[in-house]
């Protein structure tokens, strides 16, 4: 399959996204904002429609509206600190409503954005993905302890002198750009799953913050590689295949963990009996 240039590009960009999506996704899961991917990706569709109607590259429209949406979520989160999910539900509803409304007047359909088009990535999208990869990795290296502190407790982080507002702002902008780009490449309906499922798998087996991040990246990259390969040979949609691979890994890990715990309990029980 690597004799095709589009598959080489798909693997390059896919692996880049598979590394950075769970990095940001894990922090969002720890902050109990795991639905943010869903909310922003649906809002991205509205940006795509606006871009198409205005005659601009729809990716720019998606990025702009995702940035606005994520800033709105931050403001709402401050106003209703105990109900962070309300802001996500409002943004998601607004995104779905607006994209539904605009889809009827957009000059073309935007189904590419619903399920992604990882096999038809433009050079602009490749450059954006590489730029974003560098930005997210640098952000994590520089603000590793700050992100961990904020994930634990924003109040404690603020009292310890962590620049909470600044870090949250950068996190929001990077998330917005990533979701907009990933919506175009792997699909608006799928981006959220790659944001959350690898972290969910990782939470089942990791024993520290550091290993949770590392395992999430590993599971995400495996899902991407297996999903792309299977989709190529079986002629399936890449986005759905990647998601179902991740779900498959989650089920395997849950079952394996249950078996290991059962054996451990039985061993312990026999030990006490003897």
């Amino acid at each position: 399959m690597f004799e095709y240039a589009f598959m080489r590009t798909a693997f390059l960009v896919g692996i880049i996204l598979a590394v950075i999506i769970p990095l940001l996704g894990s922090v969002l899961v720890f902050k109990r904002l795991s639905m943010i991917g869903d909310s922003l990706s649906h809002t991205a569709l509205a940006g795509v429609a606006i871009g198409l109607i205005a005659g601009y590259n729809p990716l720019y429209g998606a990025i702009a509206i995702c940035i606005l949406a994520t800033l709105f979520i931050e403001v709402m989160r401050k106003k209703f600190p105990k109900y962070a999910e309300i802001s996500l539900a409002i943004i998601m509803s607004a995104g779905i409503g607006l994209s539904g409304l605009l889809s009827s007047i957009a000059p073309t359909n935007f189904s590419n954005y619903l399920f992604g088009s990882i096999v038809s990535i433009s050079s602009l999208e490749v450059y954006l993905a590489i730029g974003l990869f560098i930005a997210v990795v640098l952000f994590f290296i520089i603000f590793y302890r700050e992100l961990m502190f904020i994930s634990y407790s924003e109040t404690s982080a603020q009292l310890a002198g962590v620049p909470v507002k600044r870090v949250n702002f950068i996190l929001s902008i990077l998330t917005a750009v990533l979701v907009a780009l990933a919506s175009k490449i792997i699909g608006a309906l799928i981006v959220s799953s790659i944001m959350v499922i690898p972290t969910a798998i990782s939470l089942l087996i990791a024993k520290s913050y550091k290993t949770t991040l590392l395992y999430a990246i590993v599971f995400s990259v495996i899902s991407m590689i297996v999903g792309l390969t299977v989709s190529f040979y079986a002629g399936l949609k890449p986005g759905g295949t990647i998601t179902m691979t991740a779900i498959g890994i989650l089920i395997i890990v849950i079952i394996t963990k249950e078996i290991v715990q059962y054996i451990h309990r039985k061993h312990k029980h026999n030990h006490i009996k003897n």
Partner: protein
């Protein structure tokens, strides 16, 4: 004993709802102060004012120069459900200021974390995932995180909520030890009067102000 915090006539309101008024309190070095009050009496607002998270609309709070304060937040059942840190990583967070921006923990920091874990009775727990610990042990981790930066004043919000009687007794003994042997000044908010048994002064937030309460009542 020298005073380290002086609260002078502070008041606070949310919109038009006055929560606290004419609150006066002096905290002296080595004090172990308990704060009680009914739900909605203004305990949390008082703590937020003391921590500088909100500003009083009148009055002032004077802190001793270079006073180091550590805060132990109230734990909830869900505090660590989706936060997969181990004990070592969590306590290391307490050294955030000392390590500084763009720096990494050195051997001295690591040794200090281990020493603090020993002090709170959690030696050998470094690699344990915090969500797998009991409520009492989690609370000790939080104390270690607060103590590791060597604060002068320790502020605790409902630290015994949700832990069993034995763990509560052990925890109160630990606070007593920190206060008497390590000279840590402590302010503890609790709805549980038993948890305040080791305090040398107890105050009650009632009728929008703070009043000293006779200890054995």
């Amino acid at each position: 004993m020298k005073s380290i915090v002086t609260i002078e006539d502070i008041c606070f309101k949310y919109d038009t709802n006055i929560v606290l008024e004419e609150v006066n309190l002096t905290v002296r070095e080595g004090d172990f102060i308990g704060i009680v009050g009914k739900n909605g009496s203004g305990k949390t607002t008082f703590l937020k004012l003391l921590l500088g998270l909100i500003k009083p609309i009148c009055g002032r709070i004077i802190f001793k120069n270079k006073l180091k304060i550590s805060y132990v937040e109230q734990l909830t059942i869900n505090s660590f459900v989706s936060f997969p840190t181990n004990v070592y990583e969590t306590v290391m967070l307490g050294l955030y200021k000392q390590i500084g921006f763009l720096n990494f923990a050195n051997e001295k920091h690591k040794a200090h974390v281990l020493k603090t874990l020993k002090l709170v009775g959690l030696e050998g727990f470094e690699k344990k995932q915090i969500s797998m610990l009991s409520g009492g042990q989690q609370q000790r981790v939080m104390i270690a995180k607060a103590l590791v930066s060597d604060p002068d004043l320790l502020i605790l919000d409902e630290p015994t909520a949700g832990i069993d009687a034995e763990a509560e007794k052990n925890f109160i003994d630990l606070l007593h030890k920190l206060n008497k042997q390590y000279n840590k000044t402590i302010i503890m908010v609790s709805h549980d009067i038993f948890a305040l048994s080791e305090c040398n002064r107890i105050y009650e937030i009632t009728d929008k102000t703070i009043k000293e309460r006779i200890k054995n009542v």
